[in-house]
């Protein structure tokens, strides 16, 4: 087969006339980052909540959190995306369902993607937070209670600040995972980077140019995030408490 190379394709105008293909792809990168950041915020919120609740020692609460964790962990992310996008509007009352379905693109795809990705990653964050809290000496919590702080205050002022510093490295890799997982939103119509790469391939038939550029962009983003987080880690590191998590290898990506 003859593949005709055309690296100049990047400077050609894309069919929607919003710019050339390079700008088109960078627009996709923008959507990737927006989705990832919004989902990550949601994940942090829910994850810290669920993670701390699991350490309270209250059996009922712990069971609920365990069920939440197991539910979102054992269903593939792609299936979850479909459930949020296709199934949810059909299960709510008809009017709400129609309102959801009438959401114009890209919001119609962005909102389910963010919710899906956020809840999925919140489980990973919860696990990190939980093991972070459990890795702290028990004396910390006892000391907090002993000086008159309530349990909530102990968590807020004593435990969680330390936990965040400890789990920063694994949280960085979870954020990178969020960026990578945002690519699954292409199946529900969000035109993020991988979706736009595929669209570019479909319009121009320049398969390798399109995918090579997407690969390079993802690698560069990865690099930038790692470098940025390294700076943050350096600033917030507590001497003597170098990541309890850094050498633990867990499965997953």
């Amino acid at each position: 087969m003859n593949y005709n190379w055309n690296w100049g394709i990047f400077f050609e105008l894309e069919p929607g006339a919003s710019g050339n293909y390079l700008q088109y792809l960078f627009g996709g990168l923008g959507w990737t980052m927006i989705t990832a950041l919004l989902a990550w915020s949601l994940a942090l919120l829910l994850g810290v909540l669920v993670g701390t609740l699991r350490t309270t020692g209250h059996k009922g609460v712990e069971r609920v959190c365990l069920a939440y964790t197991e539910l979102f962990r054992n269903v593939p992310l792609l299936v979850q995306m479909f459930l949020w996008y296709f199934v949810l509007p059909e299960l709510v009352p008809r009017d709400t369902g129609n309102a959801i379905k009438a959401m114009p693109p890209p919001w119609g795809s962005l909102v389910p993607s963010v919710l899906c990705l956020g809840t999925f990653m919140s489980v990973r964050v919860a696990e990190q937070v939980r093991s972070g809290i459990q890795s702290l000496p028990r004396g910390q919590q006892m000391a907090g209670l002993a000086i008159g702080l309530s349990r909530t205050q102990t968590y807020r002022y004593v435990l969680l600040p330390m936990v965040f510093r400890i789990i920063l490295p694994p949280l960085t890799s979870e954020f990178l995972n969020t960026i990578k997982n945002s690519s699954l939103a292409l199946t529900i119509g969000l035109m993020e980077l991988t979706a736009r790469t595929r669209a570019m391939q479909e319009f121009t038939f320049q398969v390798f140019e399109a995918f090579a550029s997407a690969t390079v962009i993802y690698l560069i983003v990865n690099l930038l995030v790692v470098l940025a987080m390294r700076q943050v880690e350096r600033k917030v590191r507590v001497p003597g408490f170098i990541g309890a998590q850094t050498h633990t290898v867990t499965a997953g990506h």
């Binding site: 005709n4 929607g16 379905k101 693109p105 479909e202 390798f208 690099l223």
Partner: protein, 300 residues
């Protein structure tokens, strides 16, 4: 380490570039492997689609089987195996180019852009790009979709066409792409999109097989002319000559008329519905003089 990483990757990609200079020779390939792979669609009714036993059937499929028989005879391979590979609008051209399929039998529009990457057998159907929408939506033409959502199938000429029209005419339509014709139609059915832009024959098939065919209407306005042709690899003169001969032969002998009737004028699986689409004047014209031209003006 980081510069190194990127440069090792660049070297790898360069090596890959050099690997991709292979020539196409379908007949040799089939002779060597004993397998002839036919690329087909899943929901391009009645040209190439799944019946209810998930077997690929259709008008284009019947034409391709004739080509396959000719290949079998030409190569003298009575035990030649025919494999079927599902393709989508998005991946049919790359899969043909990289050898996963040897011939693509679906509902593929012949145009000049695509002819840079692939070749076509003589045009076997002429259709037009139209919209389907719910009757009660008040839509009649493309301009009515201002501010609304239009869906089309990824990788089709239709989605490229409407994207360009949207930009050049400043219509302000939100265009969404879906993975396949069935999914796109479902979006209109469930109300996620106001209209679906696709070739009218495919729209007719989807509407006929839907839950409530009476709810839908296909626009009178034709956005473009789409001649369908079976796709084969580029720069493969021996195979193209053989396959061209089969199709032109069917056209001159009139064998194509009975195949056409079988799929467009009689009841078809899975529901036994009749499409009832008599041969258009455009199609009669190309059957009288077979052509694989990508120029829409030829088909008017």
């Amino acid at each position: 380490m980081n510069i190194k990483r990127v440069s090792v990757l660049a070297a790898g990609i360069a090596a890959l570039c050099m690997a991709i200079s292979a020539s196409a020779n379908t007949l040799d390939k089939v002779k060597q492997s004993g397998v002839f792979t036919i690329g087909h669609r899943d929901a391009s009714i009645p040209l190439s689609y799944y019946d209810d036993k998930q077997q690929p059937i259709g008008y284009s499929m019947d034409l391709c089987m004739k080509v396959a028989e000719a290949v079998k005879k030409e190569l003298n391979l009575p035990n030649m195996e025919i494999k079927y590979q599902l393709v989508t609008s998005a991946n049919r051209i790359p899969l043909l180019a990289n050898g996963t399929v040897d011939i693509e039998c679906g509902s593929t529009t012949n145009n000049a852009d695509r002819q840079k990457q692939v070749s076509y057998l003589p045009t076997t159907f002429v259709t037009a790009n139209r919209l389907v929408y719910k009757k009660n939506s008040g839509i009649k033409k493309l301009a009515d979709l201002k501010g609304k959502t239009l869906v089309s199938t990824a990788g089709s000429t239709n989605i490229k066409g409407v994207t360009e029209m949207n930009a050049s005419q400043n219509l302000g339509i939100s265009i969404v792409s879906a993975n396949g014709h069935a999914e796109s139609f479902l979006m209109v059915e469930t109300g996620r999109a106001a209209a679906f832009a696709m070739d009218d024959i495919l729209l007719a098939g989807l509407v006929a097989n839907s839950k409530a065919p009476g709810d839908y209407e296909i626009s009178g306005e034709a956005l473009s002319v789409e001649p369908y042709g079976i796709m084969v690899r580029k720069d493969d003169p021996k195979f193209k000559k053989l396959a061209d001969g089969v199709i032109s032969g069917l056209m001159t002998s009139g064998g194509i008329n009975s195949i056409y009737d079988k799929w467009f004028m009689k009841p078809i699986p899975p529901k036994g519905i009749t499409m009832n689409v008599p041969m258009s004047a455009n199609l009669k014209k190309v059957i009288a003089s077979p052509t694989d031209s990508p120029d829409p003006a030829v088909y008017k």
